[in-house]
């Protein structure tokens, strides 16, 4: 099982967590009801203590093993400094304004793009969003410089496998001046990145 983009992952997560939520609420409700009953209720399943502990450990650790194998951007993120991107977009941010950011970016299907965003003053975020508002990916953009005064990088690699037009937003609060008087973010960039050349179901044509 592999997720080719965040939309698939989020849908899977929605279903899985909803099932879990219904299950845990039902178990405690069943439990609460039977606590008051005089007749000895027969357990639906008998879970020995150490099996339960094993389940918790397996759940906690196994979850990460599952995502490492099923979500492609995890290993790509860890080894990103060894991967040569197809293109790099490097720009800065200061006083709630993107500086040196290309007006529009077009990406061919399957390309791996590096985004390197550097902050001159505050903590910001960099996130790509679909037209329905759902998140493609995000990272924090921390300010800071090295000993030579060069701004610290905040870099991420992303491989695009689905066509789409994506907006940019800062995903971290950086003070009320990020917004105009009506409450709209000045850092919101509509239709900033477009992915072309993918099949309808995703992947290269």
């Amino acid at each position: 099982m592999t997720f080719s983009n965040s939309a698939e992952l989020l849908s899977f997560h929605w279903v899985a967590y909803t099932i879990y939520a219904i299950l845990i609420i039902s178990v405690i409700a069943w439990f609460g009801y039977n606590l008051t009953q005089k007749e000895r209720v027969k357990s639906i399943v008998r879970i020995p203590f150490y099996t339960y502990i094993g389940f918790l450990v397996a759940g906690g650790v196994g979850h990460h093993i599952f995502t490492y194998n099923a979500i492609p951007w995890v290993s790509q993120d860890i080894t990103r400094h060894e991967i040569k991107p197809d293109a790099t977009y490097k720009f800065e941010v200061e006083k709630h304004k993107w500086i040196g950011m290309p007006k529009k970016v077009t990406v061919e299907c399957g390309q791996t793009i590096e985004f390197d965003v550097r902050s001159r003053d505050l903590v910001y975020g960099f996130g790509l969003f679909r037209q329905d508002g759902s998140m493609v990916m995000q990272m924090q953009v921390n300010p800071g410089t090295d000993v030579n005064g060069i701004l610290d990088p905040n870099d991420i690699l992303w491989t695009f496998n689905h066509n789409g037009v994506f907006d940019v937003m800062s995903t971290e609060y950086s003070g009320p001046r990020e917004y105009d008087e009506e409450g709209h973010s000045k850092m919101y960039v509509k239709n900033w990145l477009e992915v072309v050349g993918c099949k309808e179901e995703g992947g290269k044509k």
């Binding site: 992952l9 995502t67 995903t171 409450g183």
Partner: protein, 557 residues
Amino acid sequence: MSFTKNLMDGTDFDHTSLNALQKVTLRAVVMSFLFYGLVAIEGMIMRMVQIGPSNPLPEMFSHPSHYFSIMTVHPIVGIFGSTYQLVFAAFMFLVPFLTKKPLYSIKLANFVWLMITIGTALAWIAAFVWQYAPLYTLYWPLPADTEQFQVVGGIVFIIGVALIMLGTFGFIYNIYATIFARVGVHKDKTTKELLISGFGIDGMLNLWHKLTGKPPYSKEPALALPVVAIFRGTVDTFLDAVVILTAGLLVLVYLIFDASGNPLDVGAIDALLYKNYFWWGLDLVADGLVLIYVAGSWYLLATLITGQKLFMENVARAALMLELLVSWMVWSHHLLADQGQPEMMKLISGEMVTAFELLTQGLALFITLVTLWKARPLKMTMELKYLLGGLVGFGLAVPAAIIQADMGMNRVLHNTQWIIMAHVHIALIVGLYMTLYSALYVLWPIVTNNTKMYSSKLSNIHFWLYLIGGVGMGAFGGMAGLDGMLRRHLYVDGEFNTLMVLAAICGTMVLVAWAIFLFNIVMSVGIKGLIGIFQPAKDPTASYGIEPEVISQNHKE
């Protein structure tokens, strides 16, 4: 009895019969629930703004400065003004009650609730008057950004937070001074014995001795299990207070220099290092003291409700020690979206150690449930209902966070409404507060000298409205997070309108539930009784349910 008479006099509450410990406990409880109302109103304002242009609120609430000022003080009022206040009051009552010793100092207990109340009010005023809005995360250098915020607002805010932390230190001192006081049942105990029991080492040794076939290390541990939980959780409370206070002092220094016309270079502080330091401390609240205090409270409530011994007590003692160690090493899960954070820290601290919280909290849930199960049939009392509600809350909230504490998931969930609604709000509103309501119903007859609750029907309405509203608000907010809605962002065009309307309806249920609860309490103690709580106690006793000669040995008031 007429409504007016009931409102003035309560059911049968007599504040003059209360001793000093009971009164100081109730004072903090009253302030806590007043702050709870404030925080619920703030939350509702934010929910309404997020609905978009159709919201009925005046336009000023949608203004960024105003909106983010509310967002800044919302957790300060909720976590410190309400939750800290309530938890500290309960523990300063419970530790003397459980150890059968007097509280070290009633004066210090009064200092605690006053400092937290004044500090919370100051922080709120800083946001309301000067619209100081760096949010509770205080990400460097935003709190020292005097281009966006007025210096005076920042100084008042930091002083407010510092007072809360001073109150917190007062609580810590009072708790440890009471635990280590060698009076009553601890007359012949050494500090070493109390320390070993406080850290749960006796529980671990008992387990080890059992495995190796030796007799138990300690048949009668010096401290009861709930006191052990309070002891350990308070270690995290202390460390967290140190971190918040020092971060506050740093901001204060920058603001004062700025005000004097000699601004310091904000670039001198590494933003990522600061984030690590601050999150280490802040996370000791969320992943440290809350989980440990809650586990301890579940154990106490389960034993009090059933009247039986806790199931697997030695395991529970050992698990509390594990929880303490885990809580010191998990902060990196807040930094999984920070690309400068070393990958090994993300992997070990952010993912693997954090996953242990599933184990420790799952264990606490298991032990509590089995303790209840072994004592069945039980009557479905208010305290049992709320305890089960608390278990549901953490049963939902802990896995929601563990899921996000993952490098893959975090990339698409960080800073969305998922974490703040499906995790934080469900953990606090449903998990923590329902546990606290359970404690309140258990302690109510003890602290109020058997005052009759005005209406059990209202108690039940409160329970169901609160449970459904709390879970519903968290669920709809969480769904909005999965749809990409950010948590620290202003949406004025109704981008997530449907889910926000549903969340607002559920939020209204929580607010109405609070009003019903408050009404029930006021009708039980009466306005006169409520005022009487704040009048000096005629009986200076600093304990409950122990012999007077024990009390006189260490009485400080």
